[in-house]
Each structure stands twice: as C-alpha cells, then as structure tokens.
C-alpha cells in the first residue's frame, strides 16, 4: 500500500500534463487509399494481495499497447488490414502470448466483389462474442471480462469469413472456418488432428444499425438495441502419442481440447441518452475423448457423463457524461471454468475514463474486486486490484 501511495502522485503528474495529438495519416492515389494509425497505452497496476504472500511482481507499470495499424482500400472492392502490437511482440519473444493482446492482431483482406457477401481471408478477430469485437480503445476498462479475454475461447485465428448485411445493416450474418488453434495458428501448422473450427454469428439491431462500441458517446436520442447469437464447433480427437502445440490450450486448458468442443453465446447491448448496458453469456460443452482426461477432475463417467461444462456471463452498465468528458462504468462477471470442480469466479469491477480528447486521449482507471474464486482450479493470491493509466490513440 505504501508503494501505491508513493507512485500515485507521479501517475497523476503525467496525467494532467497530457495534451491531444492529431489522429491518423492517410494517402491516396484516387483508387487506392492507405491509412496509418495506432495506439500507445501504459498503466500502473497495484494488487492487494492475500496475507502471507511474498511475491508482489504484479505491482508494476505495464506497456499494454504499442500498436501500429495499416488499413488499405481499393475503390469499393477490396479492403485490407494489418495490425501489430510491438509491446506484445516483444513480450512474445519470451514465449508468453497474451490472447487478449497478441503481437500480430490482424492481417486480413476483405474481398467485396460479390454482391451482398464479403469474403475475409487471413488472420483476425473471429465473429464470436460481441465484447470481443468491440475495439479496446473504446472501453473505459483496462481489461475485458475474464470470460471473453481469450482463455476460454480463441478471439483470433487464421481462416476465412463470409459476412453479409441486410435491412439497412441492422441484420448482420457471419460464417467462418478457421484452423482452431486461435492465436497459436500463426505458428504455421495445424495440430495433429488437422481439423478446423467453425464459427457462426447473427446479430440484429433496432431502430438502426449498431456499431461495435459500448459507450453511448453520441447520447442517442432514441433507445437503441442489438441482440446477437454466436456458435462454434470443433472436434479434435488426438491420436495416441500426439499433443497440441504448447500454449494453445490456454491458461485453463479448455481453449483447445482433445475431443469435441461446442459453444454458444448470447449477447445484447443497449444505449440511450448517454446510458448504455451490455450483457453477454457463453456456455461451452466439452467432450474429451479420453475418460482419463484431467478435465474430468478424476470423476467417474457415470457421474460426468463424458461432458464438462464451462461458462459464465458478464453484465456492464455505463454512463457517458459529455459535460464532464467522462465515462463511468460498473461490471459484474462470473466464470465457471469447470462444472465438475467446486467454485466459480465472481468479480466486480468499476471503471472511470476521463476523455482529454474523445477516445483519442484518455485517462482510464479500473478497480477489480474478487467476490468469489474457483479455488481448486484457479486459486488467486489477491483480493483486489487497481489499475490506472493513459491511452493515446491516433485512430
């Protein structure tokens, strides 16, 4: 706590001296235009550890983003995007890949030659989970909800996506096939099963199209809603003696499993007069092929019926105050990593963002409080956490 007292004035000093910079740069020759943008963000993290802890390594500054993005467009026929995070590329050299923020974030091309259907090929975000699709720079938080961060399901992968919009862009449909190893697909080869993962998503908005933004910074004069449903399926039974690439199974070993994994997700978002709210839930059905798989937690097949359930939900409410140039937000989240193990993560978070210049330059602060934890699978050594920092984006 004393460390926190000492460091906070320094952070505040940085904060009050920040000034706005202009946004991205673009070039065009008339048919082909190219745009360069990016973002840099840094925060200070302070954890309130449980008694008896001696390792306080998470009390530190962290360079979260050092992103560079290049987007191109050729007439109305083709778009491409390349986005990399140098902060995570540097961290990745140590062998650690943060699924929420991998080094390479996007390298994809969207072909618009066919009427009504866009085809996107390459590496990028999967059309699964609304929260995952909302760009992080529009959030007052420093971290997404645990459920949608990328350790339960992959947020990015290599593959192909077909998308289409109807009814004045109020209805959007997505269908895609991907390697299924998520961010680890960038290593080149698939796993030994050679199987793919299939993802589908549908969303409907009313009374007009609903952009991928959580905060009602336009102070909508009419209530606006969007509902979405996502689903994914993969079946990857490994042959004896074969293993998945290291790290592909995620922190909780449920991201990629030896067997069948099916998931469904529902999400909704609402905004009106500066207020906005989101709700999102996911349920995954895991069918490991071996009765001895660790996911069964040593239970008998007559008890587990060959099925492990993973899931949870989060709900978030936000208020945007234009006169105060501020965003206030609260979030409650749950996550059950394995229904065969006792316990469930329950966490409350509060966030505040002060906009020096819209979403371009923001001070962001987030307070986390663990209400419950899944002590058997994921015991935590901390109870509360505070994170404050600055985000500048030239987007």
């Amino acid at each position: 706590m004393k460390t926190f007292v000492k460091t906070f004035p320094i952070i505040l000093l940085f904060t009050v001296n920040i000034f706005s910079l202009s946004s991205q740069i673009s070039f065009t020759n008339g048919d082909h235009s190219l745009e360069i943008s990016g973002s840099i963000s840094t925060y200070y993290n302070y954890r309130f550890y449980k008694e008896g802890q001696t390792d306080f390594k998470k009390n530190r500054f962290n360079l979260r983003d050092a992103q560079l993005q290049i987007e191109g467009r050729y007439k109305n026929k083709l778009e491409y995007e390349f986005q990399a995070d140098f902060a995570d590329l540097a961290a990745g050299s140590t062998g650690v890949v943060d699924p929420e923020n991998p080094g390479l974030m996007d390298a994809s091309v969207t072909f618009k030659y066919i009427p009504k259907v866009n085809i996107t090929a390459g590496y990028g975000k999967l059309p699964y989970s609304r929260s995952s699709l909302v760009p992080f720079i529009y959030s007052p938080y420093w971290q997404r909800a645990e459920l949608v961060r990328g350790d339960i399901f992959s947020r990015r992968d290599v593959g192909i996506t077909l998308s289409s919009s109807f009814w004045k862009q109020r209805v959007n449909l997505f269908l895609g096939a991907y390697n299924g190893l998520g961010e680890l697909s960038l290593r080149g080869d698939n796993d030994a099963t050679g199987k793919l993962e299939y993802v589908a998503r549908a969303e409907m908005a009313y009374p007009s199209r609903y952009r991928y933004q959580d905060i009602d910074h336009r102070v909508s004069p009419t209530p606006m809603f969007v509902f979405g449903a996502s689903a994914r399926h993969t079946n990857r039974p490994l042959a004896p003696g074969r293993f998945f690439p290291q790290g592909s199974q995620g922190e909780y070993m449920v991201k990629v499993i030896d067997g069948k994994k099916q998931g469904i997700g529902l999400d909704a978002s609402f905004k009106y007069m500066g207020f906005s709210a989101q709700f999102e839930m996911h349920r995954f059905y895991l069918y490991p092929q071996s009765e001895n798989n660790a996911l069964f937690q040593g239970t008998d097949k007559t008890f587990n019926e060959g099925l492990v359930r993973v899931g949870g939900f989060y709900t978030q409410i936000n208020y945007y105050s234009k006169p105060l140039q501020s965003i206030f937000s609260a979030r409650f989240e749950t996550l059950n990593i394995n229904d065969l193990a006792a316990g469930e993560l329950r966490r409350l978070s509060f966030a505040y963002a002060f906009q020096f210049n819209g979403f371009i330059s923001m001070l962001k602060a987030q307070y986390f409080m663990n209400l419950r934890e899944e002590a058997i699978i994921d015991p935590l050594n901390w109870t509360e956490q505070f994170r404050i920092g600055l985000q500048h984006t030239f987007k």
């Binding site: 007292v5 008339g30 943008s37 109305n76 336009r218 501020s326």
Partner: protein, 247 residues
Amino acid sequence: MKFPLYLTVGFGLLLLSANKSFEKTSPIIQKIKFYQSYNCEVAEPSDIVFDPTSKSLYVVSDNGYIAEITTEGKLVRQTEEIGIDFEGITLADKGLVTVDETPRNFQLRDKNWNLLQSKRITYLGGRNKGFESVTWNQASKTFFTATEKDPIHLFELDENFNVLNERRLPFKVRDVSALTIHNGFLWVLSDEDRTIFKCDLATLNPVKQFLLPIINPEGLAFDEKGNLIVCSDDRERLYHFSANLFQ
C-alpha cells in the same frame, strides 16, 4: 478495503482541470422537433441539397452514387456507382458539386450526371476523416468545405476547387458532417453532437444552436420555404423541421 483518499482527490483535480474546456461558452442550445419524417430510398445518405428549380433533393450515398429524390424521400433517378464514399453535395452556378471523401475528390457535374470537372485535393488526415461536406456561397462565388474531425479544417475554395483559405472553427464541436449556407449564415451540422450551429459567415462564431432528436444526422438542406430537411445515414430517413423554428 477503503477507497484511497488520494484517488478521490486525484479525480477531483482532473474534473476541475476539465473546466478549462468549458470556458468558451456557446449560445444556449434549443431542442427542436421534426414535424414529419420519411423513409429515404437511398442507401446510407450522407448529404443532401435542395434544388429550387425541380423542388427535389439531390442526395449522395456512402456507396458511391448520386440520386435525385422527392422531399418525401421517393427515388426519382440515380447514377451507377461512380465514386467510392460520397460525403458532400451542393448546387453551384455551374452544376452539382460532390466530394468523395476517400480519394479527396471534388467533382462538378451537370444535372444529367455528366462529369464536367474533377480535382483531387491532397489531405493527409484519416481516410474516414477527410472532406465531409461542401456548400456553395453564392455571394462570394466560393465553396466552403470541412474535414470531419481530428482535426476539423474549414477550407474556402474558388470555382475551380483551388484552396483560397484554411480556417478552424472558433467553437467546440466533435465533428462536422454537413455544411450549408442559408439566409446569409453558415449552418454547420455535427453528427456526434447531434447539433446544428448557425454561424456568422465572416467570424464563424455560432449565433444559435439547435439540438436534433435524430440518430446519425449526416446532411442538411433548406427548401424554398425555409423548412429544414435533415437526413439520417444510419436510419436512411429524412426529417422535416418547420421554418418557424429558425426565424
């Protein structure tokens, strides 16, 4: 855990520092209501201009085409896809002038859509934050055009689209989605603020502000009676406001 006192103090200081932004007071905002709205038979309409000769509206679409519609939104005729991302349209002495945001292209066409003149103006700002609007000043025979945001530049162009002057708006606004000149004033529409600023043509200072009850307003025009027509891009609708509100 108690919430640390220094955090409270810190946030308080930040909020106080924000007061600097509000020092420049603007005229009181008047909330206005439309008396009628119509479906617009043009996809993603991004700007409109009223033609007093035909009593119709010319509309540009984000999808790269121009259309003529009735003031009730019915399609009269339209071009093929001839642009990339049209964002502004105005009626000048020589014909219709459009601005294509992505290629930074200003084009003059006659009312039969024939291209008479085209000029690209280099602007290095964001691809989707380029020229968002254009309007013709009959008195000075010049065009006003503005970039959308980050930052907002207001350019004055001659009849051949040569830049004569570059200015900044002297008031706080998050973006500019349309401009028009009416009754000797420059009317500036902001999509993100849902506000129309009625500005002095010489100083650009706002003399009045109107808050719109519309999602994503992208274009504005006045008809021959002085009624205001605003188009919504996302909703693809036209909203009519009585001229009495603006007298």
